[in-house]
């Protein structure tokens, strides 16, 4: 496909069209669109960084860290990012549905090992939850007592 001028022309047309279109709806929808664009850009930045530096951290978590640092520096959340964030987080559990349906491919394994799997999930979740809550309560109390003493 050597038709570069045509591709360029098409690109220009697309850009003009999107500008006109998005310019016309500079309202709430635009906010959402801007917000989701920002979130995707941060995710992409996270993916690129972790790939380049070969970090063991997943891209989206890195992207979240970047966004958090940006908000710290800006001292406020832009409306667009706030709108997109609450739209996505408002239905957070929907996003887990496709992964959950994956159970269909593991019905055999789960049927064979349901007892160890089920008990492990329940016991270790209970232990982890109690342990973390207890550690958090204890360290908060300890550290706040120490800082009170220093003052």
């Amino acid at each position: 496909m050597p038709a570069t001028p045509i591709a360029d022309l098409a690109g220009l047309g697309f850009e003009l069209a999107t500008r006109t279109f998005f310019g016309a709806i500079a309202t709430k929808q635009m906010n959402f669109l801007n917000g989701i664009t920002v979130l995707l850009l941060y995710e992409l930045a996270g993916e690129v960084t972790t790939a380049f530096l070969q970090l063991p951290v997943p891209g989206p978590v890195m992207g979240m860290t970047f966004l958090f640092l940006t908000l710290l520096l800006r001292h406020k959340t832009p409306t667009s990012v706030g709108t997109a964030s609450s739209a996505l987080l408002g239905h957070f559990s929907l996003l887990f549905v496709p992964a959950g349906v994956g159970l269909i491919d593991h019905l055999d394994r789960v049927a064979n090992e349901w007892l160890p799997i089920g008990l492990t999930l329940m016991l270790s979740s209970t232990i982890a939850m109690v342990f973390t809550a207890a550690t958090m309560s204890a360290t908060t109390a300890l550290l706040s007592k120490r800082s009170a003493k220093n003052v």
Binding site: L39, L40, Y42, E43, G46, P56, V57, G59, P60, V61, G63, M64, T65, L67, F68, L71, L72, T77, L88, L89, H91, F92, S93, L94, L95, F96, V97, P98, A99, G100, V101, G102, I104, D105, R109, E113, P116, I117, L119, T120, L121, L123, S124, S125, T126, I127, A128, M129, V130, F131, T132, A133, A134, T135, M136, S137, T139, T140, L143, S144
Partner: protein, 240 residues
Amino acid sequence: MFNSDATTIWVYLSASPLTGITITLVAYGLADRLYTRADRNQLLNPLVVSVALLIVFLMATDTSYEAYFEGGQFVHFLLGPATVALAVPLYEQISRLRKIWLSVSISLALGVTVSTVCSIAIARLLGASAQTQLSIAPKSVTTPVAMAISKQIGGLPSLTAVLVVITGIFGSIVGLRLLRLIGIRDDSVKGIAMGLTAHGLGTASSLQVSAEMGAFSGLAMALSALFASVLVPWIVGLLG
């Protein structure tokens, strides 16, 4: 005649992403309505109900998970930007966070270690196969991260995804009651424990209780994902 037409249409539709994404949204919509009608009874958790509906539907129509995921991946994909979006509720708790960041970090690092060691040790004691043990190790980590860890340590990422979701459901059903039972009153402590154990699903149910609990749960989920991606492979290496 009609029958063969219908079959042709079905063959076409079942191969297109449109079907997967639509049935996902329809199932979730039905499940969510049922959940609201039932006064938010956790036994009718919309995620459990919609997953069950979809599995029954796929089995009845003899559709493979792969074909379903052609469409499902579009919903699954949104987990990425949604994870990034967690920076927002977290930032809104910055003044609380400044005061307790040290105890949060200590609790989460220890919590991830205890959670991972317990998962592997209990699964091993109860005679789970080696691959199941490895797939279960990152069960409290948020789905995309857990799948990456599972792949790295030699587990089955797709099994891990399912175990993560089941853990999340268990945590959000039992968590709040359990924490009340052991006398935890502080919403930030509850949020931290919920997010560490039950990741995004714990965060979703924490958000329903209070913005503070939700933010701390989101924080715990994000930080523990960071800790886990370093600690889990290391612990697996130690436990051999």
